[in-house]
């Protein structure tokens, strides 16, 4: 009796352990499911790689867009500067003569002139003629400096009689004080003396 019970228990256990055709089918299903799952995994990984590729493409597109933005901003700045230049060109300007020197602070202006003078007819010697001509030329150079620095006063008068110009007069005058002018060169040729003279003007001399 005792042995029969043990045998029955063993049989029961063996029946439990023993593979039935149904369980074998389940294992097959599990295997197929596993292969499917692995296939899905590979697909998922491929999709992930595709997504990462799309992400990199998006980032490159974003960098390109930012580059385009910066280009657009520079173009806009250029346009603004051009518009400002056009506005400046359209605005009325003070006329400035070419080569005109202006006296500014810290920069000196050099004025150079050449005065001319002739000797009188009744001189006792060529030396006297030279001396007198040089003096006249110096005076002329001083006058030229005064005219350049201070300017010339000009008056004109025309007399017209019976629809004809009888007399046309132009008067010019200048009055000035000239200091520290330097004689650069003196030449005397065929009775004409030429004195080249220079004067340096600084802003401090005129500052008040």
């Amino acid at each position: 009796m005792k042995y029969s019970l043990i045998l029955a228990a063993l049989l029961g256990a063996s029946s439990l352990v023993a593979q039935t055709p149904q369980t074998i089918g389940n294992y097959d299903k599990i295997d197929s499911l596993e292969t499917q799952v692995s296939g899905i995994d590979t697909k998922v990984s491929s999709v992930e790689t595709q997504v990462s590729g799309i992400d990199t493409k998006v980032s490159t597109v974003e960098t390109q867009v930012s580059g385009i933005d910066t280009k657009v901003s520079t173009v806009e700045e250029k346009l603004a500067s051009l518009e400002a230049e056009i506005a400046e060109m359209k605005a009325p300007k003070k006329p400035v003569r070419e080569g005109e020197q202006t006296l500014s602070d810290g920069a000196d202006v050099l004025i150079s002139v050449t005065g001319q003078g002739v000797a009188p007819m009744n001189t006792s010697s060529p030396a006297q003629a030279y001396a007198l001509a040089k003096r006249a030329a110096t005076a002329d150079a001083y006058r030229l400096i005064a005219e350049k620095v201070k300017g010339v006063r000009i008056d004109g008068q025309d007399l017209i009689k019976n629809m004809m110009v009888k007399r046309s007069t132009i008067r010019t005058s200048v009055r000035a004080m000239v200091r520290h002018a330097n004689v650069v060169e003196t030449t005397f040729k065929e009775g004409l003396c030429e004195v080249e003279m220079e004067i340096v003007l600084s802003h401090a001399q005129f500052a008040q």
Binding site: G117, V118, L132, R143, S168, T169, R171, T172, R175, M177
Partner: protein, 137 residues
Amino acid sequence: MRSRDGNRSITRAICSIILLSSFASLDAKEFLISYRYMVKDATLYNETLHISDSMKKCTGKPQFALILTSFGDENLKLTIKKNAQEFIDYIHKLGLHVEHQESTTNYQNKSTTILTLKTTCFKVDFNENFAKITPLK
């Protein structure tokens, strides 16, 4: 206690300094100088240089000086005569008043330029062989 002899020597020294300085000041003379010339149609006329002793003490600060050779002579007119060109150049450098008038009538031109050094006081120091001329302004 100070000795009387010591005091005398100090007094002598002070007196001699005063005397020397007074002699030195006597050596410096003051002159009034004016210069003017006219240039008419590029020809010189009426060049005049007036030099006279100053009748009263001049005021003003000395400007840049000119040193002329006087050859031991204490006569300014003679000294200037001997160094005429140098002195005239110096006067030009000091500054001259320029007055110019030009007239063109029926294409015929006439011009007159007058350069003037207004009467200016000059301090003149005569040394052995040189005269130092300084304008006072």
